[in-house]
């Protein structure tokens, strides 16, 4: 057991280092992708405008001329050597802001991205506060329960469970 324990600790150190390297590589890996990958990424950042409500590259609406035309426009813009920003701005100028499949990170749209994070942090904070409050508080018996002792309550729960089992 002690050997396993030692292996575990050594492993943790070893894997911790690997994890750091992997994270660094992950961050670096964001740069540069092939033409196909770039087309796929940009194609998924755009919505088809035929009214199907699907991402441009996933629209298979029978007889849809919109997605085909948009694909050609995207391909042409990429061939011209336009940057991602210029390409997306071009689509917004032509089709309006709803052509983007996700809100931008500018202006009021920022709120869309920030709120889930804010709620997450606030909820975690609330949990910590609740935990601290619980740790400080002495147990209170329920206002009108059958008994005040925890054991009596447990017994009551057990009986209730048995009697009401469906």
């Amino acid at each position: 057991m002690r050997i396993a324990h030692s292996i575990f600790h050594r492993g943790l150190r070893h894997w911790g280092g690997l994890l750091l390297i992997a994270s660094a590589l992950l961050l670096m890996g964001a740069a540069g992708d092939s033409t196909g990958q770039r087309f796929d990424r940009l194609g998924h950042a755009l919505m088809c405008q035929c009214g199907c409500g699907q991402v441009m590259l996933e629209c298979n609406h029978v007889g849809c001329t919109s997605s085909e035309q948009m694909r050609k426009e995207l391909k042409a813009a990429m061939d011209r050597g336009d940057s991602d920003k210029v390409i997306l701005a071009g689509f917004v100028a032509k089709y309006g802001p709803t052509v983007l499949s996700a809100p931008t990170t500018t202006g009021f749209n920022r709120v869309a991205w920030i709120m889930p994070g804010v709620i997450f942090v606030a909820a975690l904070g609330a949990v910590v506060l609740v935990v601290l409050a619980w740790k400080r508080r002495t147990p209170t018996p329920p206002s009108n329960s059958a008994g005040s002792e925890p054991d009596a309550l447990d017994e009551f729960r057990r009986r209730a469970r048995e009697e009401t089992s469906l």
């Binding site: 409500g53 298979n60 009021f108 889930p116 740790k135 329920p142 009108n144 329960s145 309550l153 048995e162």
Partner: protein, 681 residues
């Protein structure tokens, strides 16, 4: 016949009003006889609404196009199962179907009134109030028996082609059973709050109701996903469409409730939280219905849009006000009986689990409604599509997976770090080994964030599987040792002795199998090509050869399809037939996907159309890895929930002979190890 339908609906409304009014009066003035008449009126509502539903189905089968609903959702050539499904295929019919399901749940609730007559009387009044709302809708706002003005057409408009699939026949009923099923625990929760019901008996009574509702909702969501995958032909199974999101919201809060309710049962904690969780789940189920039908947000599910949205808004506001009023009035009753003793405990894992599930629910709700908010604030709409939901929800899902792995290893009250380390060591090593193996096999998480997520999903899934596996094996070994049987028999006995806990573990296994399926998304690929006779196209290891293409004509639709021979590594493995149909009554096209599903990948072919100049079919081929796992996981979730619904074997303890009793004690001991060393349900 339509007049009979209208009459029975009015009768149902009158009976519901009586069940509500008389029930309320009987509670206030303690009149048992009146309470009994209210209960019976509630039962009669079921008969009235059943009669109305039967009349609508009869009208569909007898092509009664004098009824506007039948005219718009059926036609003579429509196959019988779809005529039956017409009941829930449109706005008015689906609301009637909702009424019928609610009446059915109400019937069961009232027939089981002896479980606790006072509590059921209160819950019965609440469910009557909900029933009144839906019956008001079908009587006055969305009447399913409205008659056609002027000349009655010889044939109907037919059913939406997208709905003419077997999956679609069962998907809406499952979803509705889930939505409506959440009404019952809501009614009991509100009833318990109103009457300051002592203890957690209402939770024990509603536990199975909640699980059944959750199970139906889960099945409904997966069936909808399966339908989207097999029918819509875009190669995916979840598009974060507002209506899909609407079904996910009550599922997320319902899942949170199913976990946190254990804290109330075991430790008398989280009473306020649980009360509001079930209120939220019910409100979100109603919100989902509102979203599906109001047209507030644009959705591919536009077939059920109408102007009944304001009714739902009023109903939700009234429901919220009622809940808030009784909560403020009776909140002292919901005081916690125990405190949290340690951060490393089962209680805190449930807390964090709940936080993550609710943050996920918020993110989904926020993303769904943000276009409306944006338009309101800035004057123009934006799109919140899959990239937003994936970016926000995937990390949350991964955290949840981690908690799923750790949670079962934690004991109630307090877990020592030594115990946690001991139980976590082997699963962690196994998960890490799998991760390293995947990287060695070519999965490069540094290339793209989706690859990283896929790797993490698989590694964490393995971690969960290992912790659950170790739980089963350890308990099974103890029982097997004392029973002179094998470990599998031990695990079988263990599961039967605590179906809820081990059923829950099976559900968790289902979730991780599904997550492995989700992890395949990063590696989906597709290609499209026009194919003449003998032409080939390649995707992955497959080569598709066009043998022929042809067409057919049937009473309900005409169709075109391609016949493709599929080769893998130079050897023919099958022939596939992607098809496109054109439905005559509705004048709408639809795709019939050809899919070859294996454990490793799906070869998914779509007939997207033909070249008008030469008639050659255009085929889109998708190669989707690990999709099979998603549906396998859904089946495991179903099995696990069913196991959890089965009563424990210990109920039969009294009948045991002395040696059997000794054996049962040993099993108890094996089982009780878990709460001390590794937690229990």
């Amino acid at each position: 016949m339509p007049q009979i339908g209208s009459f029975t609906l009015l009768l149902g409304l009158a009976l519901s009003v009586y069940a509500f009014g008389a029930g309320l009066y009987a509670i206030v003035y303690h009149d048992d006889r009146l309470s009994e008449t209210a209960r019976r009126a509630g039962i009669a509502v079921f008969l009235a609404v059943t009669a109305a539903s039967a009349v609508l189905v009869y009208a569909a089968f007898h092509n009664d196009f004098s009824v506007a609903y039948i005219l718009h959702h059926s036609n003579r050539a429509l196959p019988a199962p779809y005529k039956f499904a017409a009941l829930w295929s449109g706005q008015e019919g689906s609301l009637l179907f909702w009424c019928w399901l609610l009446a059915t749940y109400g019937l069961v609730l009232r027939l089981r009134h002896k479980v606790d007559t006072r509590l059921v009387a209160h819950a019965s009044v609440v469910i009557s109030a909900v029933q009144i709302f839906f019956l008001l809708l079908v009587n006055f706002a969305a009447h399913p028996f409205a008659l056609v003005a002027g000349t009655i057409p010889a044939d109907g408009n037919g059913l939406n082609p997208l709905l003419q699939y077997p999956e679609m026949v069962i998907h809406p009923p499952m979803l509705y059973l889930g939505y409506v099923g959440m009404t019952v625990p809501f009614c009991f929760a509100l009833a318990a709050l109103i009457m300051k019901y002592p203890g957690e008996k209402w939770i024990h009574i509603t536990r199975r109701w909640t699980m059944v509702g959750w199970l139906f909702l889960t099945c409904g969501i997966f069936l909808g996903s399966y339908w989207a995958y097999r029918v819509l032909g875009w190669g995916g199974w979840w598009g974060w469409d507002p209506v899909e999101n609407a079904s996910l919201l009550p599922w997320l809060t319902g899942t949170a409730f199913l976990h946190s309710v254990m804290m109330q049962e075991k430790r008398g904690m989280m009473k306020v939280w649980n009360m509001w969780l079930i209120f939220s789940t019910f409100l979100l189920a109603i919100f989902g219905t509102f979203l599906t039908r109001s047209g507030v947000v644009s959705s591919v599910h536009a077939f059920a849009e109408s102007d009944i949205g304001p009714y739902f808004v009023v109903f939700m506001a009234l429901t919220f006000a009622t809940c808030a009023y009784f909560f403020v009035r009776n909140r002292e009753h919901l005081q916690s009986e125990h405190k949290l003793e340690s951060l490393i405990s089962r209680e805190s894992s449930f807390l964090f689990n709940n936080v993550l599930l609710l943050v996920s629910a918020f993110a989904v709700l926020w993303g769904t409604l943000f276009p409306v908010l944006s338009e309101w604030v800035t004057g123009h709409k934006v799109t919140v599509g899959p990239p937003f939901f994936n970016k926000v929800n995937v990390p949350i899902a991964l955290f949840l997976l981690l908690l799923t792995a750790v949670g079962p290893l934690l004991a109630w009250r307090k877990t020592s770090t030594e115990s946690l380390r001991k139980n976590f060591l082997l699963p962690a090593i196994i998960a890490l080994a799998v991760g390293v193996a995947l990287v060695a096999m070519g999965l490069k998480p540094w290339v793209e964030i989706s690859y990283f997520y896929s790797l993490m999903a698989i590694v964490l899934s393995v971690l969960v599987a290992a912790t659950i596996g170790s739980e089963f094996i350890r308990g099974g070994l103890v029982i097997a040792r004392h029973n002179d049987s094998n470990v599998f028999h031990g695990m079988w006995l263990l599961t039967r002795r605590n179906t809820r806990r081990y059923g829950g573990y099976i559900v968790h296994l289902g979730v991780i199998v599904t997550m492995i399926g989700f992890a395949g998304v990063a590696f989906y690929q597709n290609t499209e090509k026009e194919l003449a006779f003998g032409d080939k196209m390649d995707i992955g290891a497959y080569t598709l050869v066009c043998r022929s293409y042809t067409q057919d004509d049937k009473p309900n639709y005409s169709s075109e399809w391609a016949i493709l021979d599929i080769y893998k590594s130079g050897k023919q493995i099958t022939t596939m037939y992607p098809e496109q149909r054109f439905y005559k009554a509705s004048q709408q096209p639809a795709t019939i996907v050809a899919n070859r599903s294996t454990v490793m990948e799906d070869l998914y072919l779509v007939y997207t159309g033909k070249n008008p100049e030469n008639g050659h079919p255009i085929i889109k081929a998708h190669l989707n890895p690990l999709v099979w796992w998603i549906w396998a996981g859904a089946h495991l979730i179903l099995v696990g929930t069913l196991v959890a619904l089965v009563p424990n074997m210990q109920a039969k303890r009294k009948k045991l002979t002395p040696p059997q009793t000794r054996r049962a004690q040993v099993e108890d001991a094996a089982e009780s190890r878990a709460p001390v060393e590794a937690g229990s349900d």
